[in-house]
Amino acid sequence: MAFAAIVVVVLVVAVLVVVKVTGGSGSGSGTCLNGVCAPPVTPAPASLVSELASVPASVEQAVGVPSSSLVVAPTYVPGQQPLTSGGKPEALFIGAEFCPYCAAERWAMIVAFSRFGTFSGLDETTSSPWDDPSAIPTFTFHYATYSSSVVDFTMVEYESNDTHGLGTRHQLQRLTTQQNDLWSTYDSKFGEPEGFPFLDMGNKVIVYSPSYNPEVLSGYTQQAIAAQLTNPKSAITQSIVGTANYITAGICSITGQQPGSVCSASAVTAAAKAIGIPS
């Protein structure tokens, strides 16, 4: 009897592991409501991630600092306690999978942070098909990791996507006390309590509201958007790469302008100047 009980427990755990290994890991399309379905989450193709990590320098320079009617610059916050992790300056993103503005911001963040390090485990999806604007093509950082020798990037997807209609989301990742404090402190500071997206670069440069209009990405696939990034005249490219240049300037301000090849680019120094970061 005792032996049987132990065997049952071992078998139950073994079944869980086998189900997981043999196909339980997928998170395909969710439920549908009135013909509109929750978006699937699938691994981002390596070629797509590679395209975002290798936007030509000529495009970066040509876009430079876009018009403020197209891209809103982040905010420089001088005199704060530096945000660090493991001896490196840290950037913290707090977003949500349903959020269309986060969907747009992730494109620029991936382009910018890929200049300093490498993403892995990125999944592609869309923002909520029930929100407005709806179904903006994007990625999720939920299972992603980032490695860099000069900056630590913490990505928190605070809430999930909608699953069966507007507002049918749930908490996805819990914030640490420090992350919650930063979010409420800096977002409240600018009059918008704990909104998405929130990107804190070392407590020095902060994105606390959408940088550009997500609707510019509406109707495109991820591959189509990436393909646009070689054309500096495209509104998509100006929005994504222009925002990425601002974010890059913010990151450079906390890494001591390292790596030099990234931080000395004229588009980045121009973006730093536009933000108001002292040189």
């Binding site: 009897m1 005792a2 032996f3 009980a5 132990i6 427990v9 139950v12 755990v13 869980l16 592991v17 997981k20 339980g24 890991s25 485990g121 299972y143 990791t145 749930h170 908490q171 996805l172 990742q173 819990r174 914030l175 640490t176 006390t177 420090q178 992350q179 919650n180």
Partner: protein, 187 residues
């Protein structure tokens, strides 16, 4: 009637009849030679290990810091310990449940209590069995949450799961002997 045949409950009444109340009470405190001394010590050491692991995870939870743990592939302690599944009803940390569980296990697994006989010994055996059954049920739920909801494995949590499983094996395997060997002299 030998000591082994003597009914375990109520031993004091039997002793009263024979006029050896004091001596019998002392004998009834301990279990017989079927009980291995190392069982109690193994259970105690496992309980200490589980208590330490749970204490660490609880402290990390309440201080808002993240466990020292690799974050490669499916191994990611932070993702697990900051997930919604890390709290019951959104307020009660699972790590604190673990700490309470192992505090209880420590109490019932003190080595002298493993050799305790009489009604107390029988009660302790049943209590240990009930606790490890609840514990292993929770472990199975948490493993399924890690694999299918959170999609990440926390090594510190896995440590707690392994300790709970070993306690389950120990208690379940020894339970028949423990409940059938009550009220005999120590070896």
């Amino acid at each position: 009637m030998t000591d082994i045949d003597r009914p375990a409950s109520p031993p004091v009444e039997v002793a009263d009849e024979d006029g050896y109340q004091e001596a019998w009470e002392e004998e009834a405190e301990w279990r017989g030679p079927g009980i291995r001394r190392w069982w109690g010590w193994a259970a105690f050491v496992l309980s200490v290990a589980g208590f330490g692991d749970s204490l660490y995870l609880t402290v990390e939870h309440f201080t808002g810091s993240v466990p020292i743990c690799a974050a490669t592939g499916i191994i990611d302690c932070t993702k697990v310990t900051t997930s919604p599944q890390s709290e019951v009803f959104g307020i009660f940390p699972v790590s604190l449940l673990g700490l309470l569980f192992f505090t209880g296990m420590l109490a019932v697994n003190l080595p002298p209590l493993w050799r305790r006989g009489g009604e107390l010994g029988r009660w302790l055996s049943w209590a240990r069995l009930a606790m490890v059954v609840v514990g292993i049920g929770m472990v199975i739920y948490l493993i399924s949450a890690e694999l299918f909801s959170i999609k990440a494995i926390c090594l510190w949590c896995t440590g707690v799961h392994i300790v709970t499983f070993l306690l389950f094996v120990l208690v379940v395997a020894t339970f028949p002997t423990m409940v059938s060997s009550v009220g005999v002299e120590p070896d």
